[in-house]
C-alpha cells in the first residue's frame, strides 16, 4: 500500500482509524515499520490504600476518575478505558496504538519557497531571527508580542527553513476559528507545500501535511511528528486549563523540536520562567504599523450595576455610543455577563436599530460577528468571548463595568488590543466605564505604558 507511510507517519492511531486490512498491515508489523504500543498502561496495586494507577497514552491523562472498567468483548481480562478522550474513539487496556517507524514522506525540496513579499519591522525581524537560530535543536522560545504586532508574518522565515530542510512544521491553537483564519494565509504563503488544517470534523483529517495547522485537541493523534511547533495564544482557554492539551502538544513535537509560543499576555507560569531566565523570549512592543498602543481612558460610571437592574442607560455610556454613531465608527462594547449584554443591547436599541448583543450560547453568534465585520452592525455588545481574534479596522472599544472580576488584566489588554489595528487608523478609543479602579485596570495601564516605551512589562 503506497499511501500507508503518508497516512501513518508521525501519528499514533487506533486500529479502527486505519483504513487498511489486516493482510496489508501484517508485513509491516512483522518488519517493524509499524509498531504497536498499549493504549493504557497500568501500575500494579501496591497496598490497600494505593490502588492501581492508569495512564492513557493518547491523551496522557492520569486522573483516576477518567478510567472506568467495562465488560470488554475482545479480551476476557479486566479492561479499563479512558473517558477523557473517548469521543475520539475508545482507548482501552487491550487497544493498541499504531505508530509508523519506516521511511516517512518529506516535504518537497521546493516546499519552503515563501510567497510573502512584505518586509518585517525591526523587532519582528529580531524575533524571526531568534526562532531560526534555534531551529534543529530542542529549545523553547516565547514570542511576547502586543496585539496586532504581526505575529503570523514573523513565522514565515522559520517555517520556510524547516520545510526546506525536509521537516514538518506545526501551528497549534486552542481555537478552531484561528485555524480557519490561518489556513488560506499559509496556503498562499507556501504554494508548494502541502498545508492541512485540522479541527473537529475537518476534511483534511487523513491527509499528510508538510505544514499542519491544528486545534490542540486534534494533536492527540500525532506523535513525534514536527521539528517546529508553534503554539498560538498559549494563554487562551482551554489550553491553560487542560494539562492534557499541553501534553498533546509536547507529544506531537519531535524530541529535538524547536517549540515556539506566541502570546500578548503570558500567564503567571511563563512570566515566572521569563523572570528566572529559564524561558527565552523575544519582545515585540510595537504594532506592525509602528504606532503606539492606544492608551486606556477611564470614565467613572457610578452605580452601573444598579442602572442595569433598573434598565437605565448611564449617561456617559449613552454619550459615548452616540459619538460612535455620529462619527460612524464601529464599536465593541464588552460587558461582564450574558444578561448584561442582552439588557444593554435592548437599552441601546433606540439609538440605532442594528445594535445587537452576542454571547457564547448565541446560535447566531457567527452570523453576527460576520455582520459586524462587514459594518452592518454599528455597535456590538458582547461578553468576553470576542476578546481575541476579531479584527475590524478603525474599531473603538468600550468596557462596561470594567471593575467586574471577569475583566482580568490580560482580558483588558486583549480587548484594548481590538482598537487601532489598521495602519490607516492607528488611533482608537479604549474606554473603561467603571465604578472604582481595580488592580487589573492599573496593571493593564502599566502594560500599555511599558510596551509603548519599548520595555517588557513585569507583571500582568
Amino acid at each position: 500500500m503506497s499511501n500507508m507511510p503518508a497516512f501513518l507517519a508521525g501519528r499514533r492511531l487506533l486500529r479502527a482509524e486505519l483504513p487498511f486490512s489486516d493482510d496489508e498491515l501484517a508485513p509491516h508489523l512483522a518488519a517493524g515499520t509499524i509498531r504497536t504500543t498499549p493504549g493504557i498502561s497500568t501500575t500494579r496495586a501496591e497496598r490497600l490504600l494505593r490502588p492501581a494507577r492508569h495512564f492513557c497514552h493518547r491523551c496522557c491523562t492520569t486522573d483516576a476518575h477518567q478510567f472506568q472498567p467495562f465488560p470488554c468483548a475482545t479480551c476476557a481480562a479486566p479492561c479499563v478505558y479512558c473517558r477523557n478522550c473517548v469521543v475520539m474513539g475508545r482507548v482501552s487496556s487491550c487497544t493498541p496504538l499504531y505508530t509508523w517507524h519506516g521511511a516517512a514522506p518529506r516535504p518537497r525540496a521546493d516546499a519552503g519557497a515563501c510567497a510573502f513579499s512584505g518586509t518585517l519591522t525591526l523587532s519582528q525581524q529580531k524575533a524571526a531571527d531568534a526562532i531560526t537560530a534555534r531551529l534543529g535543536q530542542a529549545s523553547e522560545l516565547l514570542i511576547f508580542a502586543v496585539c496586532g504586532a504581526g505575529k503570523t508574518e514573523l513565522l514565515f522565515p522559520a517555517i520556510s527553513e524547516t520545510l526546506a530542510a525536509g521537516r514538518r512544521a506545526l501551528i497549534a491553537t486552542p481555537r478552531a476559528d484561528v485555524v480557519h483564519e490561518l489556513l488560506p494565509r499559509m496556503r498562499s504563503a507556501f504554494p508548494n507545500a502541502r498545508v492541512t488544517g485540522l479541527y473537529g470534523g475537518s476534511e483534511d483529517r487523513n491527509a499528510y501535511g508538510d505544514l499542519v495547522i491544528s486545534t490542540t485537541h486534534q494533536l492527540r493523534r500525532f506523535h513525534h511528528a514536527f521539528h517546529l511547533t508553534i503554539v498560538d495564544e498559549i494563554d487562551a482557554f482551554p489550553y491553560t486549563f487542560d494539562a492534557t492539551l499541553r501534553h498533546a502538544v509536547s507529544e506531537a513535537a519531535h524530541p529535538s523540536a524547536c517549540r515556539v509560543y506566541l502570546t500578548a499576555t503570558p500567564g503567571r507560569a511563563e512570566l515566572a520562567r521569563m523572570k528566572h531566565g529559564t524561558l527565552d523570549y523575544a519582545l515585540i512592543p510595537r504594532r506592525f504599523h509602528g504606532h503606539d498602543l492606544p492608551e486606556l481612558n477611564f470614565t467613572w460610571c457610578t452605580g452601573w450595576k444598579k442602572a442595569l437592574e433598573k434598565q437605565r442607560l448611564p449617561k456617559p455610556v449613552a454619550a459615548w455610543c452616540e459619538a460612535q454613531l455620529h462619527h460612524k465608527k464601529p464599536a465593541m462594547m464588552f460587558v461582564p455577563s450574558k444578561t448584561a449584554a442582552e439588557t444593554l443591547a435592548a437599552m441601546l436599541h433606540p439609538l440605532h436599530p442594528a445594535i445587537t448583543s452576542v454571547h457564547a450560547e448565541d446560535p447566531a453568534r457567527k452570523a453576527k460577528v460576520e455582520a459586524f465585520r462587514r459594518g452592518e452592525i454599528p455597535i456590538l455588545v458582547t461578553t468576553t468571548i470576542l476578546e481575541r481574534g476579531v479584527t475590524v479596522p478603525g474599531a473603538n472599544v468600550a468596557l462596561f463595568g470594567a471593575d467586574d472580576n471577569i475583566f482580568t488584566a490580560a482580558a483588558i489588554i486583549q480587548m484594548a488590543g481590538r482598537a487601532g489595528r489598521s495602519a490607516d487608523e492607528p488611533d482608537g478609543d479604549v474606554r473603561l466605564f467603571h465604578d472604582g479602579r481595580t488592580n487589573a485596570m492599573f496593571q493593564a495601564g502599566r502594560y500599555i505604558e511599558a510596551m509603548n516605551a519599548g520595555t517588557a512589562p513585569k507583571t500582568i
Binding site: 467495562f70 465488560p71 468483548a73 478505558y81 473517548v86 469521543v87
Partner: protein, 249 residues
C-alpha cells in the same frame, strides 16, 4: 478558595464531567449522595409517568392502552408474544444524546448512572424473572466492544444468554416503521443447548430502547417456542410519540 469548591470535589458527573456538588449538611457528610449524575443532568433525565400497561407509552386521558399496543394486539401473528414492556425514561433529546455516547462512542461507564433506576424498576415489576439480554450480531459486538443490553441485564442478575443473532441483519434504528413490522424475518435464534435454563420460567428481555416493539417481539418468539412460560421486557427508554405528531420522536 471558596467553601463550595471544597464541597464540589466528588467524582465528576457522568454526563457533563463537572464535579458533583454535595450540599453542606450533616446528612451529606454521613450519607453521601451516590448519584452518578449531577443535579442539572438528572433533572433532564426525567422518569416516564405511569402510562400504557403494555409498553409504558404516555396515554391520553380517555385511553386505556396506546395506539401501537392496540395495533400489535389486532395482528394474529404478533398477539400475546410479550406480557408487557416497562420503560424507565422517555427517549428525549438528552436521553438520545446520552445513549448515543454510551452505545456508539463506547462510553460504557454511562450505564452505571442508569443502575439505580433500572434495579428499582426490576424489583417493582419483575422480581422473579430471568434477565435475557437482546444479543448483538457478532460483527457489531466486535465493533462496539460490549453489549449494552448485557450490561443492563447484569445489574439485576446473572444474564441468561440463550439468544443468538446469527448474521448481520439490517440495523433496527436504520429501518422504517413499516419495515420493522414486516413479520417474516427471524433475526434471533434460540441457543439449543440451554433449554433447561428457561423451561417454564418467566423471562425478561432486556434492551436499551423500545421504539416500535418489534425487536422484543421477534426475540420473544424463539423463547416461547423453546418452552418459556411467559416473556416480558424491561427497556431503559421508550420512544414517545405525541398524538398529533406523524412519527416517533
Amino acid at each position: 478558595m471558596h467553601l463550595r469548591d471544597l464541597t464540589a470535589t466528588g467524582p465528576p458527573c457522568l454526563a457533563c464531567h463537572t464535579p458533583i456538588a454535595q450540599p453542606v449538611s450533616w446528612r451529606a457528610l454521613l450519607i453521601p449522595d451516590k448519584d452518578k449524575f449531577c443535579h442539572a443532568c438528572r433533572s433532564q433525565l426525567c422518569l416516564l409517568p405511569e402510562g400504557c400497561p403494555g409498553c409504558s407509552h404516555p396515554l391520553l386521558p380517555q385511553e386505556t392502552s396506546c395506539y401501537s399496543c392496540r395495533k400489535w394486539d389486532q395482528s394474529l401473528h404478533w398477539r400475546g408474544l410479550i406480557n408487557q414492556n416497562v420503560a424507565i425514561y422517555p427517549y428525549n433529546d438528552f436521553c438520545r444524546n446520552l445513549v448515543a455516547r454510551w452505545k456508539y462512542r463506547g462510553d460504557a461507564a454511562i450505564a452505571e448512572g442508569f443502575r439505580p433506576a433500572f434495579v428499582k424498576a426490576y424489583k417493582r415489576h419483575f422480581p422473579d424473572c430471568l434477565p435475557v439480554p437482546i444479543p448483538l450480531a457478532p460483527e457489531r459486538l466486535l465493533e462496539r466492544g460490549f453489549n449494552q443490553a448485557e450490561q443492563l441485564a447484569s445489574f439485576v442478575g446473572e444474564p441468561v444468554n440463550v439468544l443468538k443473532r446469527p448474521e448481520m441483519a439490517e440495523k433496527q434504528s436504520k429501518t422504517s416503521y413499516a419495515g420493522r413490522l414486516n413479520g417474516d424475518s427471524r433475526p434471533f435464534v434460540f441457543d439449543n443447548h440451554r433449554e433447561f435454563a428457561i423451561k417454564d420460567r418467566h423471562l425478561l428481555l432486556i434492551d436499551d430502547i423500545y421504539t416500535t416493539g418489534a425487536t422484543v417481539r421477534k426475540a420473544a418468539r424463539p423463547l416461547l417456542e423453546a418452552g418459556a412460560a411467559a416473556v416480558s421486557a424491561l427497556t431503559l427508554a421508550r420512544a414517545v410519540k405525541l398524538a398529533d405528531e406523524g412519527g416517533f420522536v
